[in-house]
Amino acid sequence: MAGPVPLIQGAHLLEVGLRWPPETFIQRKLRGLADAGMQVSVGSTTLAGPTPRALDGVRVVHMPHWRERPARQLAGVVGSALRPRTRALSAVRAAGGPLAPPFAAGFKRRLGLVRALSSLGHLRPDIVHFEWESAAVQFLPLAESLACPIVMSCRGGDIEIYPLIASEARWTSELPRAFEVAAAVHCVSEETKRSAVERGLDPDKAWLITPAVDPSFFVPPPWPRVRGEEMRLVSVGWLRWRKGWEYGLEALRRLVADGVPARLDVVGGEPGPDHGEASELPRILWAADELGLRERVQLLGGLSSTDVRELLQRADALLHPSLAEGIPNIVLEAMACGLPVVTTSAGGVREAVGDGVEGFVVAPRDPDGLARALATLWRDPRLAARMGAAGRSRVEASFTLAEQERRWASLYEHVLERAA
């Protein structure tokens, strides 16, 4: 973290509702804040079994999920009452005190929150941060009972999708209250901010902090990029419908039909229970099979940052067929590696990629447009190289981790100042 920022030195940040281990970009953020002198704790609902809990300078605490069966929740509440005094008091306070009114939503949720508070109540944070809108909605009463400023993030995707779904009516109706209670709201892009303001966010509370990458880690390959016999494409993302995998495969089919001998490496894990949606793996396998792409598509699962970097360095282009986004980290990582990107305009992508500058930006659900853009890159290696270089420059100018860390520090400092 660059430069001393006195107020955040020693301040205690509690991140609530993260899966563990969290996404790489959140890990980087947490490590950066810990290095800058903040105490960082994480309350995770998915911490279980042999999952490693270690992250330098970050304390990780398991908080039960409200979706657990009530029998287990009840047992947990009883258990928490038998624990040291601070936790028991927190739980009792939560059950009958400030948490009571919003709990009309349901017995199960109430029990879950009481248990969560019994896990986190003793931490006494200075700031609570929700990295996802859904976590803010879910755990807002808990954070309020901790009596400290609340920060939440809007990362795109969810805020575009959830308001359209009847089953997420609670999410939609409670989001404005989360915005109201939050001392500051982090938005990953102007587009995300616009959506959040439409949903009730006071624009004065919005902090634009874009995703960022470490340009000393994601670097162009040390070897010259030379066109091989096949066009090597990479796509990275969770295997969720919003990533538009089927459109990417359809684009690959059209590209191959156009005479470009392309192959695609797909990197990404299957969604977990906390995502609340089915894996796209069968759909991807079926589409690859049916479109005659079985030999051209390789599914690699989730990979480490080092492995992703190596793939990006060896590829000819990043294919990002997503349907809903904030600003995707993988696009920035590819650009940092000097790789031209072919992406959709979902969410705030245009704020990071200029169409015809760092790559090509086409409308979502347009496999023909994606295929045409890829073919152009394949047939014009000099253009591809130019776009790759432009991407690297853009990241160095606007999306570095150092700048992002400065912005995070400013945000937290501002919140602490106001609270003081």
């Binding site: 009530p70 359209l164 997420e168």
Partner: protein
């Protein structure tokens, strides 16, 4: 031939294949029983008109308190074993599994003949990561039932032995609907589970390219958020509506065209219903050997995942009411000829007789 037959299925609706076949078998003198796996009464109610003595609900879940506080082992342990216990009590001579996933997970009692119906989802994507997924079934089944040639071809690709008896029996449909006359805009309809296999994102995108039309999608499923987002993203929120599954008769009576954008193999279940109701169809190709499954005078076939092509066909139909009327007439005739319920039952009875011998 008659005998005790158990049809094993999951949460059937009044209009679903197992219930229709069950009634048909009773009428033909079979001692038919309907075994419902994972009968979650919180989300499903048995269709009316099923005699209690012949309806066997397994792994019943109905009490929230029991779900919340009951022993987990009792609630979650292997529902298929409970189905096997029910089958052991019924003592059928023949067990007909409604789909491949049930057939793979559940064992019939010793001595009972086994028939498994393989549906589009089974042969297209069931266990797609495992090339040997269906091996146990090929070893256990006496016969396989599919509803069209495209599915037979896909089953063969999935390893169905050449000497396995595979009966291709077209589904029977009986629908008498009075079509309401077209008002202004073109009325499009899909009756599908809301899963990615139905390609509804593509049909929604196609509809965005067709001026002056309304599109109803009747169904339930986990892919609804993706469909709601597609509708919003392509700008047809006002003209595309989602509704739960309903009686296909009235739905089809007020539709001008049925749309099937299915991306897996086989002819969509709703297509024969639409033809019987005299509703022209725009559909995606059914797969290998299924390309010519329906003649162009009743159904216009387009490539899968091609909204532009689908939109073009829909615009053609929108502009030509006379052609729609001709297709409607031809559709009814074709349905009478190809999707006759009595013929389906005859063929099933023949299949049962063969399996029992």
């Amino acid at each position: 031939m008659s005998g005790r037959v158990a049809i094993v299925c999951q949460a059937p609706s009044r209009w679903s294949w197992p219930v229709q076949v069950f009634h048909g078998l009773i009428e033909r003198g079979f001692d038919a029983h309907l075994v419902v796996e994972r009968a979650n009464l919180n989300r499903w109610a048995p269709p009316d008109g099923l005699p209690e003595s012949r309806l066997h609900l397994c792994h019943v879940q109905r009490r929230p308190a029991l779900r919340a506080f009951g022993p987990r082992a009792l609630l979650a342990s292997e529902p298929e074993r409970l189905t096997e216990l029910a089958l052991a009590r019924i003592k059928p001579r023949l067990v007909h599994f409604e789909n491949g996933s049930i057939a793979l997970a559940t064992r019939a009692p010793d001595g009972a003949a086994v028939i498994a119906s393989l549906r589009s989802e089974d042969v297209s994507i069931g266990g797609i990561e495992d090339p040997d997924h269906f091996e146990p079934l090929w070893g256990r089944a006496d016969a396989i039932h599919v509803s069209d040639r495209a599915l037979e071809a896909r089953a063969t690709k999935r390893g169905m032995p050449a000497d396995m008896q595979c009966a291709v029996i077209a589904p029977g449909v009986e629908l008498s609907t009075e079509r309401t006359p077209t008002g202004g805009s073109l009325r499009l309809l899909s009756i599908d589970p809301m899963t990615w296999t139905q390609g509804l994102e593509h049909s929604i995108q196609a509809v965005s390219l067709v001026p002056d039309c309304e599109y109803r999608i009747s169904g339930d499923g986990e892919h609804l958020p993706a469909l709601a987002f597609a509708r919003h993203q392509v700008g047809v929120t006002g003209s595309v509506t989602f509704e739960p599954y309903g009686d296909p008769g009235p739905l089809l009576a007020s539709a001008d065209v049925l749309v099937s954008a299915q991306v897996i193999d086989g002819i969509n279940n709703s297509v024969p219903c639409a033809l019987a109701a005299g509703v022209p169809v725009v559909m995606t190709s059914a797969g290998e050997l299924g390309e010519d499954a329906l003649p162009e005078d009743v159904a216009l076939v387009v490539r899968r995942r091609d909204p532009q092509a689908m939109a073009e066909r829909l615009r053609e139909l929108a502009a030509d009411p006379q052609r729609r009327a001709q297709m409607s007439q031809a559709a009814r005739e074709l349905a009478r000829e190809r999707f006759d319920p009595q013929r389906e039952l005859d063929q099933l009875a023949e299949l049962y007789a063969h399996a029992l011998t």
